[in-house]
């Protein structure tokens, strides 16, 4: 009831004298044959009156594309700025430094929201700024379900920032304390987090520099009933630096990171807590791709345990062509050895740079792009090339010495019986040992190369045509390497595959791509889209996505849409003679959709998409999620600002 009163109080202010406002409506509707349906409606209202600002967001979503159903005020905030002070009450989103301690945002595409509902106090005068946040944050994570969050991490937090700016120099100190109730797979944990950070920046005419360091300590309340003191759970730190150098119209951007809030040879799960918390959303040092196919193979970075470097050089040639070359390399902070099949030991990677050894779970990528205009800027082209390599996981990784033992026994006593001699005693005369190398490795790796291409031409009458084409070759394979594959616990050693000849070593590549019973070493992906548009009015885009194999098995989908039937000339589809139990082969590995965008007014757009969309990894704002396929469905999206 209070929320409804609050909502109507906000909206009624729109008609009050002296109050300025703006508002936005977002409507998303989707329905597909495989029950992937959603209805999202959001209404944002901003009010401004002298030094008071207010924001309220009402949402009716049942269900949303991702998240919980809601029919309520979702967000609100009131800001008051008297003189040098700022007071905010409601949903707070702050960004300090480069986010090693605090970076809050609300990303509804991935359903990531780490904002704090509470109080913000700020004071800024001259070069000094002091800020304080106090409140509660509920951060949700997905479990097995790809659309409905399951794990809740509730934070009762406060944070402080002090910043001093003098000309081109800036220095800041940050601090964040949080009491977290952390939901695990079974039960929950109570964890206190303490973070302290420092950052500095310098801006010059031909260069600028940014440095940030954050230190983190987590303690766990092990027994809340008996009030046993907190035990230290995890200590960690993070370092980030960014140096940019400019020469004419060329710029070189270099970044270095070393995040060591936790350590591990495998993926972190919800049961790995006490390490990096979701207030810390930091630079990742991989390129934020705007190519669909490259977005699907992006690295799933690790904020807890990863170091890396990134270089990006860009500039413009005398003829106006824009060039970009980018390279980044990452790895964990440790190289891992499986001393048994389940016990792993980590050794710190030497120096400061990332390792390329598979035991450090490395990743590298490079991307080059050239784009430009011709014919009085009517023709636009873009050519790109992106390549990456990643170790996705270690199953076993041991390299060391093994020892074989041969005992030489001598017989010292014997008896004669029934015309024969039998030995009755013996002593160990000598032991012969021989050493040999053991290598027992199994890891999964992925490698891809992608070529995005774009071409568009604008006519004088406002019409334009565009062509986007992306081609990708991708490999995912298990690599088995060495001369041993299994660990013998009774002998505490890795067993040789060929004990007679320990030097026999092998390397086997096991592809993970298949289509039915047939295996493919390489997955070929092609995506093409054609766009016809009329400036300020409408655009129509026809997209075709195609692959030749899948990672893992897929069940046969008997349904396909008339658009796919039309593109492939399947007349039976329209004459009612199609075989629903044995559909044509082309539909399994192709997705066709058409999208129409129409501008009702310059500030109102409606978008209608019909067809199928292949699911996959989608990343936004540093957060990634797996999007399920959208099959033979309709998406309608409407946005308006006023």
């Amino acid at each position: 009831m209070i929320r409804i009163i609050l909502y109507f109080a906000f909206t009624s202010l729109v008609w009050a004298d002296g109050i300025d406002y703006n508002a936005a409506i977002t409507v998303n509707y989707g329905d597909s044959y495989d029950f992937y349906s959603y209805t999202e409606n959001r209404f944002d209202l901003n009010l401004f009156y002298n030094n008071v600002q207010a924001w309220v967001q009402y949402e009716y979503s049942n269900p949303p594309e991702i998240g919980f159903p809601i029919n309520d005020i979702r967000k609100f905030r009131i800001e008051y700025k008297p003189l040098d002070f700022t007071i905010k009450l409601g949903d707070i989103y702050e960004f300090w430094g480069r986010g090693l301690v605090l970076n809050q945002f609300d990303d509804q595409i991935t359903n990531f929201d780490n904002g704090t509902r509470g109080l913000f106090l700020g004071y800024s005068k001259g070069p000094f700024t002091i800020n304080h946040i106090n409140g509660n944050t509920d951060i949700w994570q997905l479990g097995n379900d790809l659309r409905i969050p399951y794990y809740k991490h509730a934070h009762n937090m406060y944070a402080n920032q002090v910043q001093y700016e003098l000309n081109s120099l800036s220095l800041g100190f940050t601090q964040l304390h949080s009491k977290e109730t952390h939901q695990k797979i079974f039960g929950e944990a109570f964890v206190n987090h303490k973070l302290n950070g420092i950052y500095a920046s310098w801006t010059g005419a031909n260069a600028d520099l940014f440095l940030e360091y954050a230190d983190k300590k987590a303690t766990e309340k092990t027994n809340i009933i008996e009030n046993i003191p907190h035990d230290t759970l995890k200590n960690g730190y993070g370092i980030y630096s960014n140096l940019n150098i400019y020469l004419g119209n060329w710029g070189l951007s270099t970044e270095y990171k070393r995040y060591a809030f936790d350590r591990g040879y495998s993926d972190f799960t919800v049961d790995d807590y006490g390490n990096q918390i979701n207030f810390q959303t930091m630079p990742t040092l991989v390129r934020e791709q705007n190519s669909t196919l490259m977005g699907r193979v992006t690295h799933q970075y690790n904020y807890n345990d990863e170091r890396g470097v990134q270089f990006a050089l860009n500039g413009t040639l005398p003829n106006g062509y824009y060039l970009l070359a980018q390279y980044s390399q990452l790895s964990r902070n440790e190289e891992w050895q499986s001393v048994t099949s389940i016990n792993w030991n980590g050794t710190s990677v030497d120096g400061y740079l990332p390792s390329s050894d598979p035991s450090a779970i490395p990743y590298w990528e490079n991307y080059q792009e050239m784009n430009g205009y011709h014919f009085d800027d009517k023709l636009y082209f873009k050519l790109g090339r992106g390549e990456n390599y990643e170790v996705l996981g270690l199953m076993r990784y041991f390299e060391g010495e093994g020892e074989s033992i041969t005992e030489n026994w001598m017989y010292t006593d014997s008896i004669e019986w029934d015309n024969g001699w039998f030995y009755t005693d013996s002593v160990l005369g000598s032991i012969d040992t021989s050493n040999y190398s053991i290598e027992a490795k199994l890891w999964q790796e992925s490698r891809s190369i992608t070529f995005p291409f774009e071409l568009s031409y604008t006519f004088d009458n406002g019409y334009s045509v565009g062509l986007n084409f992306e081609y990708q070759e991708r490999k995912i394979r298990n690599v088995t390497r060495g001369n041993a594959t299994t660990f013998n616990y009774s002998d505490s050693t890795w067993l040789l595959v060929n004990p007679e000849n320990p030097d026999t070593s092998f390397i086997v590549y096991d592809t993970q791509f298949s289509d039915g019973d047939k295996q493919y070493n390489t997955q070929f992906n092609r995506m093409i889209s054609l766009t016809l548009s009329k400036a300020s009015n409408w655009s129509v885009t026809l997209s075709h996505d195609q692959t030749n194999a899948f990672e893992g098995q897929r069940s046969i989908d008997p349904y396909y849409n008339p658009l796919e039937a039309l593109v492939y000339g399947d007349i039976k589809y329209f004459t009612g003679k199609r075989d629903k139990s044995n559909p044509p082969g082309f539909i399994q590995k192709r997705w066709v959709s058409v999208k129409i965008d129409y501008s009702l007014t310059p500030s109102q757009r409606i978008s209608v998409q019909y067809g199928s969309i292949q699911g996959g990894l989608f990343c936004s704002n540093g957060i990634c999620r797996i999007i399920p396929p959208f099959n033979d469905g309709l998406n309608i999206s409407y946005t308006a600002v006023f």
Binding site: A23, I25, W55, T203, N249, E288, N290, G315, G622, F642
Partner: protein, 174 residues
């Protein structure tokens, strides 16, 4: 039932507020941190003449295409007091590359930083690109969402209306 009530509510809002793109409402005086480290405000940028605000990110393809034209208008109509303010929404993931990109393109317009979308949310500019044209007295004259090639003609027309210029003369594109 609730579903239909919500839909009706939204349709009402569309009818009430959505028809006019020329809103005539005042823009709030928000503080903007510029790429060169300095602070300014929207009203400061309006002192000499109209201001065109656009929201962009380094990974946004249509944003980069429209920037080329906006920079040209910023230079061509600068002597009339017109300015372009490009508010960048790159997150820490790509924030380090913003200045390098602007320098490489020789863009001369003002670039503001809004990494957690605080300004974008206050001006409803979460969709990129979103253009907001504000006249000298702080009144929003025109809003526009998205960009397809060819729309720069309409953008320039709106700028010239805000400047009170003859449509035929002194066009940088002519």
């Amino acid at each position: 039932m609730k579903k239909y009530v919500s839909v009706l509510l939204l349709l009402t809002c569309i009818l009430l507020f959505g028809r006019e793109s020329r809103s005539g409402r005042a823009i709030p005086d928000l503080k903007i941190k510029l790429l060169n480290g300095k602070q300014t405000s929207i009203h400061d940028l309006l002192k000499d003449g109209p201001l065109l605000i656009d929201f962009w990110a380094t990974w946004c393809k249509p944003c980069k295409k429209v920037m080329k034209h906006l920079d040209r208008y910023h230079q061509a109509y600068g002597n009339h007091g017109f300015k372009v303010l490009m508010i960048n929404q790159d997150t820490p993931r790509s924030l380090g590359k913003v200045k390098s990109y602007i320098r490489s393109q020789k863009h001369t317009f003002y670039v503001g930083l809004d990494p957690n979308q605080e300004t974008a949310k206050k001006l409803n500019g979460q969709i990129m690109p979103t253009l907001i044209l504000v006249d000298r007295d702080g009144t929003i004259q025109w809003r526009h969402q998205g960009y397809v090639p060819g729309e720069e003609v309409e953008i320039e027309r709106q700028i010239r209306i805000a400047l009170g210029l003859d449509m035929q003369s002194d066009s940088p594109d002519s």
